[in-house]
């Protein structure tokens, strides 16, 4: 539905050209929640902004529903933007307007009539759970409530696409969860294709179907969130995932002589097999479990075990090889 074709975005800063987005090509499917994750400065925001042309690509095309939108101008561009909702990290509400007026502004911008606005605004406020705050000014709202207004404004015109630029980064953990729940609910109820940017894998993990990992202006990995968590391919994705799953171990464990530190990842269907006890029986090695965790991603479990394996060097290697045939991911951990 949203297709990036060799998109580049360059900025000129002090006569130096900075590549913010480098040759990005992929497609976001209709109705999915798609995440773009990466550190700050990786170009996620810039890429997101090419979808509603808040940022024009320097090279390449952005195609939405088969229509090339890259060169839209004037009235056509405004119509495209009206059909594309956007939610911001810092909410960006008009301070001098009430909740109702903020949502109404977006509808007025799209050329809706007074009657339509008066009918629709209460509906969207109901949907985001703010019916009782219609006449309040943004300064009287909590962060979570402000973001709800931001979301109401973004969906008021029944958009096909909802762009979320770090929608929860200014919120506390609990509020983050409720906002993510709301975005998920809206995605399900209205079928809006949702693109979410975050620097936190946790946010992606909670609601996204698929994710693109960005590093230094490039997309280094695209896959389902489950696959990226279960077997990240790019070192940077692995780093992000490890950081999220938080498998921190004391340094001394890496230095114990003659032992190997392994990270074993189980995926849903294999999780029930007694792999560890098989190895102990077959190879006569000692296995000591140091860390274990089960993460549920898109309601499917990923099991992660960190073990010390102890025994004769050759036997350890043979046991490792055997393990690799039984579970999808075995990684030797180094300090």
């Amino acid at each position: 539905m949203i297709r990036f074709q060799n998109v580049h975005v360059n900025f000129e800063v002090k006569n130096k050209i900075i590549e913010a987005v480098k040759d990005v090509s992929f497609e976001i499917n209709r109705g999915e929640i798609f995440g773009i994750v990466g550190t700050s400065g990786a170009g996620k925001s810039t890429l997101l902004r090419t979808i509603n042309l808040l940022q024009k690509p320097s090279k390449g095309r952005v195609v939405i529903n088969g229509k090339d939108i890259t060169d839209l101008k004037g009235e056509e561009l405004r119509q495209h933007r009206a059909k594309t909702g956007m939610v911001f990290q810092h909410f960006n509400l008009i301070h001098t307007k009430t909740v109702f007026e903020n949502v109404a502004f977006a509808m007025k911008a799209a050329g809706k009539s007074r009657e339509e606005i008066n009918k629709r605004v209460p509906e969207v406020l109901e949907l985001v759970g703010l019916s009782d705050r219609a006449t309040a000014y943004p300064s009287k709202l909590s962060g979570g409530q402000k973001q709800r207004v931001g979301i109401a404004r973004a969906i008021a015109n029944n958009p096909e696409i909802l762009l979320c630029d770090e929608p929860t980064s200014a919120l506390d953990l609990e509020t983050t969860n409720s906002i993510l729940e709301l975005l998920k609910k809206i995605n399900k109820q209205l079928g809006i294709t949702t693109v979410i940017i975050s620097h936190e894998m946790n946010v992606i993990k909670k609601i996204c179907d698929r994710v693109a990992v960005m590093k230094d202006a490039e997309v280094v990995e695209i896959d389902t969130v489950y696959n990226v968590f279960a077997s990240p391919k790019h070192p940077f994705s692995r780093q992000l995932v490890n950081y999220t799953i938080n498998l921190e171990l004391p340094k001394r464990l890496f230095r114990e002589k003659g032992k190997r530190l392994l990270k074993i990842v189980y995926r849903g269907e294999r999780a029930e097999e007694p792999v560890i006890s098989d190895i102990i029986k077959h190879f006569g090695v000692d296995i000591n479990i140091l860390h274990g965790k089960i993460e549920y991603i898109s309601d499917q479990p990923i099991g992660i075990l960190v073990v010390h394996i102890d025994g004769n060097k050759d036997v350890i290697t043979a046991a490792e090889e055997y393990l690799k045939t039984r579970v999808p991911e075995v990684e030797v951990l180094n300090e």
Partner: protein
Amino acid sequence: MNKLSFSELLQNLTKAFAETFLMCGTSLGLAILLGVPLGLFIYITRKGLFWENRILNFIGGFLINIIRSTPFVILLVLLIPLTQRIVGSTIGPLAASVPLSVAAIAFFARLVENALCEVDKGVIEAAVATGASTFMIIKDVLLAEALPGIIRGLTVTAISLVGYSAMAGIVGGGGVGDLAVRFGYYRYQTDVMIITVASLIVLVQLLQTIGDFIAKKADRR
């Protein structure tokens, strides 16, 4: 040289207040009418905004700076030909209103620009993202969000005008400040000076209080 009696002073003071109000009111009105568009113009022709245009932005900014850097007394004299054209006379409070208005428009325009600069760029971006027209963004976002700052700027302008209008005596504009200068300063009538200056303080204080009150009402942050 006769001294002013108290009743004469009162009479003079009333007249002077009327003149001050005429001069300041006229120029303040024109400052709102023309200063807001001018300030808005130099704001939106800035780099990265809707009508980005370096040349027009420079011309606008430079024009404002010329007016603002010229001492008001000199502006008063320089603009005499213009005053003659517009008012048909070069003396009296209405004539003095012409240079006062020119100064006020330039001054206020700069303050309007400053107030607009304070508007959160994110809010503007969010409005652009809704597909709103430039006109709608100007009216419902830029001016609405900058309104408290614009009102504060208007208060500063009004108070500066009261100060400037004291110099209007040069072209026979009259006013409270002029009364203080003529009787209090030139004629060493300390009592007149004190009374007029005190009433000016009251006037300025009043303007500030009203301005602050309205700005606070408008400020929803």
